[in-house]
Amino acid sequence: MIEQPTRERETQEILQEAKRALEEEGKLLAKVYNEPGIFEFEAKKIFAKTWIFLAHETEIPWPGDYVLRRIIDDSFIVSRDEDGQIHVLFNMCRHRGMQLCRSDAGNSSHFRCPYHGYTYTNTGKLNGVPFQKEAYGPDGLDKDEWAMTPAPRMEIYEGMIFASLNPEVPPLEEYIGDMGWYLDFYLKKSPAGLEVVGAPQRWVMPADWKLAAENFIGDGYHTQSTHMSTIKAGIMRVKNPAYLKDGVQITAGMHGCLFMGFKPGSYFNYPQSIVDSMLENLEPEQVKLLKESSILPLNATVFPNLSFLHSAMAIEAEGPLATSVPYLTLRIWQPMGPGKIEVWSWCLVEKDAPEEFKKNSNRALLTTFGASGTLEQDDAENWSGVTRVAAGEMSGQHYLNYAAGLAHVEPIPDSEWPGPGTAYPKNYVDFAQRRFWESYFDHMLK
């Protein structure tokens, strides 16, 4: 009898060949975008091993506040205790495994399990067991042994709460590493810090999470085609569809981003107060880029599935809001199974920004990104399209082009670039995308 290879082995072989082609030829095997076995590997080798963004501190500002978040199928309560400490607790009762908390947000000092009534504090302490002596004898239960299970690791970076299922994951600071210098542009424009505007948008998309992550890490090239309609309609306020071609693409550790230029002195049209504070609050080296090069990071991805977007778009057809209004969104591409994601999109704005600006900034975001965003609508069309046609046999021999920049673009000499990592003096290049895939294969083939 001819022994058939197991699916696990076939998946492994696909990954090996994909890695080889990327390294040796700057090509990606399309099959990696849609192969059921691959998703199972990703759950174990990436999402159970890296740092995953869960929530922003300002979603739970008060003691007792909590939100429910997930890492793929694992549910976590992200709570703030009475002392203001934040906890990330696996949302499963220790007794018989009931989902302890079933509402996505609220305020409570305790979580009571509906099944048998075990009660835990919002720090995870087991604090009540009904008829305990009756059930467990005179000594009752060992409360410490039966406390809720915290996420194996939890750390906070500039107000962003991350967790990891991997006890051995390096410290978050180190994991983000050089990328931190670039995230400052998103996160440190004001000493007051950022706050979320309401709750995140959530919607499902029949697309592979990697398409979104790699698009956000550096795909400046697609704007002139994918988003042409918003240029024509006057949402994206630019004349030249290729306005993004000049800029700087960054690779920093497993992560990367893209710098976009702005009219000198315009600073994305941020209100003067924010402009002042960003020039004051950022490092001199960073300010230099703003002032002299007039560039700011547009989009970024922190491996594996956290992305940032900083942009400025028109909200209305005429009048005061027919001009670019800046905004910042942070989003995760949450896998829901092979070829399916749940997108979570938050709007973030400086705490000390004018109230009216906050409202407009959020409107500018939803005009362009999020489920109803006029730009993201078309991104969704692309990402689901790729996923769909990658499902068959042909994608197993179909190699995609990741060679942009390889032939003619050299990194900017460190002497000429103030930031860490590697900077490339163009945007229509694939350096950051390739870096995403290198990080991907490093994990998948371990």
Binding site: D104, A105, W203
Partner: protein, 169 residues
């Protein structure tokens, strides 16, 4: 319920039927003209909360937070030849039921509630999306014509079960 005259009910009914028809036939421009100049078009984000915490609709976060001016931008985009998300167009069907008409706050206005089941399919895969919502509208009569002054779309979803909102509800 009908808390207005039957005549008014019929006018409102006709308005909603006409509106649904325009959307399902992709006449977005004509649809836009049904709105007053000061129109609001809102779809708040809904969070799954405990009963005591209410229905979970956010006051800050929206899927749509539109004025006539911002809807104009969305329609213009659809009118370009580059709106990939809607070309080929989605096949939509707006099932409008449970229409209830009441007096509005102002005169010449009525408050209208309706249930909306939106069927949507695209391309040629045997898959379809369903969106369920209640809509709370305010219609105002201008020069003998009813216009949509305000629409609030109250979703029955805490996670949107469609890949984007390139269609209107």
């Amino acid at each position: 319920m009908i808390e207005t005259s039957v005549e008014t009910y019929w006018e409102v009914y006709s308005f909603l039927m006409h509106e649904a028809e325009l959307l399902d036939e992709h006449h977005e421009r004509e649809w836009l003209e049904l709105f007053t100049d000061d129109a609001e078009y809102l779809m708040p984000v809904r969070v799954n909360r405990e009963r005591v915490d209410g229905d979970g609709f956010s006051e800050e976060a929206f899927y749509f937070e539109e004025t006539r001016g911002s809807l104009e931008l969305r329609v213009r985009r659809l009118e370009t030849e580059y709106a990939w998300a809607e070309d080929p167009p989605s096949r939509t069907r707006h099932f409008v039921t449970n229409i209830r008409v009441a007096e509005g706050g102002e005169e010449n206005e009525v408050a209208v509630r309706s249930n909306l089941l939106l069927y949507r399919s695209r391309g040629s895969v045997p898959h379809y999306d369903v969106l369920s919502a209640e809509r709370k509208d305010v219609l105002r009569k201008e020069e003998g014509q009813w216009k949509l002054k305000k629409r609030v779309i109250l979703l029955d979803h805490s996670v949107l079960t469609t890949h984007n909102l390139s269609v209107f509800l």
